[in-house]
Symmetry: C2
Subunit: 439 residues, 2 copies
């Protein structure tokens, strides 16, 4: 009987182990998880901080007990894997009391997740918001503060700004880039959401952190100095590969290299989730896309292949969605700035529309930007900021992009129309028509 | 200079004429419209009846004056075309005083719309809800009634039931079919919405109207008799082809036959919108799909071709969406019952999920049913009933179906995830996974 050992009990790890179990009732499956939580959801941390829910167990889709009793997966929480011997196929781990043990594997799945990028300053009022297992403690500390600086205006920074602003905190958001979400959106779309954020938050762009002093209560940037009660650092995440960085092949993104079966350079070792690199379907470059749905599918594919059912993970196009107050903010495919970086010649359209028929109450604003490739007329990127039905529309555009829809094919997608939730020319179609004129 | 004459100023007619104008600044374009409204939206009638808006001018996307002054389209409202001579290329019309005139055309566009199916009973309390131009009068009469029977549990019947129930009326909905929306949804999905409707409305299924007596205040069915204050008949619509039914080729659906360029059997005559027939992309049969977005695109294609820019209308897959109270109800592609009718062997999945992460407040229920073809494993149908993000998801599935996504390709569509508006395994993916198990 094969022994499958999974290191990391997050989305990818639990998907991989569940998939193996489903296809092979006899496999021995062990999952090592360093914290007390499995199948946990870091995406929920800002909403916990906001106080939208209070039970930290809700961070878990399923509990360790569920996996143990229902899926016969030997989940070991609070066990830190401190070394792996890939030649002898041995995983070395320690329990909470640092009691050390080893286990042998036939297949190894590395689902090591990601870790927040750190600043070189320490202090009791310097925080990182990452793992749900530490959310209770983090929230307790943040709720006692009034004036809070957030360093970094990426997705997490914006979500924390929303959460803390909703909680009544006085928020300063300090962002190095030219506009918020500048690694996700083009400037024209980024400005839309930036204008909204500035209504609640003291937003500083093109301003870089130089130093945190006084336990995190003094923020010194290249332009100014701020006295606050505490600082959250949200400057991004990196793949958590310290355990294996000299042992398996890493990709150019810095994450673990994988082939289309989610296999590393070693045939019996797979990787998935935030610690794994994959292909970008548009740029054909290698890419790193640390989002839960990608992690789940990578895990699913790794598990399938380990269990003997061949499956290919096609790669990613970079779908992402976040929100700020009444606006959802989504992106799929490449932004114009990314296309430029890769030398892809594009044309684009950006429109503003409403989410409902002109006579139907409570219509919300929606902005759609589409990007098409000059040579092929294929849609290769989309950005949407709007009050409702943003998710499904970005998903539709993701489907189109993955399958190479041309602009005209996009025009003819038979979208639904209901006055209560759409306009008769859907906002996406309006943007497509603009592209057709540009054609 | 070519003279393009358009008969019918609805969605298709105004799209066609606007497209011609855009491509050909010199064309002479005349639109005849029997009512006072152009680019009008029958889809809005139930919401006007509910009282969600009060200005009947909002039914029009643009006014006749807009088309006349901004687009130089000679829109003639309140002009009834009473005959067309296709040999001499002459349209004969009458004004409000029945003063008759003729006009010659080089190209003719037939956008005649649809008309409600009638019952063979008349009376002051028998109503049809169809054209926005009559909505003010209709609403005034309905608002004075308390107990109202609706005959027909299709999309319009359900929308009227919602509107009148929200308006505080006592509604009896009498439907001949086994369950509501039985021409749209399979029974399993139809029952979901039926259970909801029954909470507000006295719903009678498998019950047929036999007679309306007493001006519409007595409803006699094959099972019972109801005393009401009035009756709305909503038993469907038919293509409005009386003007041309002996003059152009009709399709098997009863609507005007068109080729892929929206041309009728006569080279200089085009048809579009509710009076035109097109191809069903899944069944390969001819079909009739009287919905505004299809009408708009048909008109756009007809106008392009008339103006000399070749364009093909690919056909339809039958996307439709409606709502009842907190539930959106959508369908695209074929239902199981339709697949059966066409001898297409399918397998299906149906799941119930939530619209938000388990920890995010105010999650709503969502039901997804997917239908895949046995031989090809392609997704060919989808039905969704849910509280939010139904539209975009059905649009995504429409895109997948139109492009022939297999179940596995659907699985790998990189959908977005945000706890506030999705689950980490999107409900659509959950349904796809069920299909993969059935595979």
């Amino acid at each position: 009987m094969d022994h499958v050992v999974v290191v990391g009990g997050g989305a990818a790890g639990m998907s991989a182990s569940s998939r193996v179990r489903r296809l092979n009732p006899n496999a021995e499956i062990t999952v090592f998880e360093e914290t007390k939580m499995v199948s946990h959801a870091p995406c929920g941390v800002p909403y916990f901080i906001e106080g939208l829910f209070n039970d930290e167990n809700l961070f878990m889709t399923y509990t360790p007990e569920f996996f143990i009793s229902k899926r016969k997966i030997d989940v070991k929480i609070n066990r830190k894997v401190y070394d792996i011997d890939l030649n002898s196929r041995i995983v070395k781990f320690a329990d909470e009391n640092n009691k050390k043990s080893i286990v042998e594997y036939d297949y190894l799945v590395l689902t090591l997740g990601s870790v927040p990028k750190k600043v070189p300053f320490e202090g009791k009022r310097i925080f990182y918001a990452h793992h749900p297992a530490h959310a209770v403690e983090l929230r307790k500390e943040l709720w006692e503060l009034d004036k809070i600086a957030i360093i970094g205006g990426g997705i997490l920074g914006v979500e924390l700004a929303e959460a803390l602003s909703n909680k009544g905190k006085n928020v300063i958001l300090i962002h190095r880039g030219k506009y918020v979400l500048n690694k996700m959106l083009d400037e024209d779309m980024g400005k839309v959401i930036q204008d909204r954020i500035e209504k609640d938050v003291n937003l500083k762009t093109e301003e870089s952190l130089m130093e945190l002093r006084d336990e995190g209560k003094t923020v010194i940037t290249d332009k100014s100095k701020y006295e606050v009660d505490g600082t959250i650092v949200a400057i991004g995440v990196t793949p958590n590969i310290s355990l294996v960085k000299d042992k398996v092949k890493l990709g150019k993104s810095g994450a673990i290299w994988t082939d289309e079966h989610m296999r590393t350079n070693l045939p019996e070792v797979y990787a998935a989730g935030d610690s794994a690199e994959t292909a970008n379907l548009i740029t054909n470059d290698r890419t790193w896309m640390p989002f839960a749905p990608v992690a789940n599918k990578m895990g699913y594919v790794a598990g399938s292949n380990i269990a003997g059912k061949k499956m290919v993970f096609p790669g990613t196009i970079g779908t992402m969605i976040t929100k700020y107050k009444e606006f959802y903010i989504a992106k799929t495919g490449v932004a114009e700035f990314e296309a430029k970086k890769y030398g892809i010649k594009v044309y684009s359209s950006m429109i503003k529309s409403k989410t409902r028929a002109r006579y139907y109450p409570d219509a919300k604003d929606i902005y759609v930007k589409l990007i098409a490739e000059e040579n092929t007329n294929k849609i290769i990127g989309a950005q949407i900021v709007g009050g409702e039905e943003v998710l499904g529309r970005i998903d539709m555009l993701a489907a189109m992009i993955m399958k190479g829809f041309t602009v005209e094919e996009g025009f003819f997608v038979e979208m639904g129309y209901l006055p209560a939730i759409a306009t008769v020319w859907d906002p996406v179609i309006v943007a497509i028509r603009q592209l057709m004129k540009a054609d």
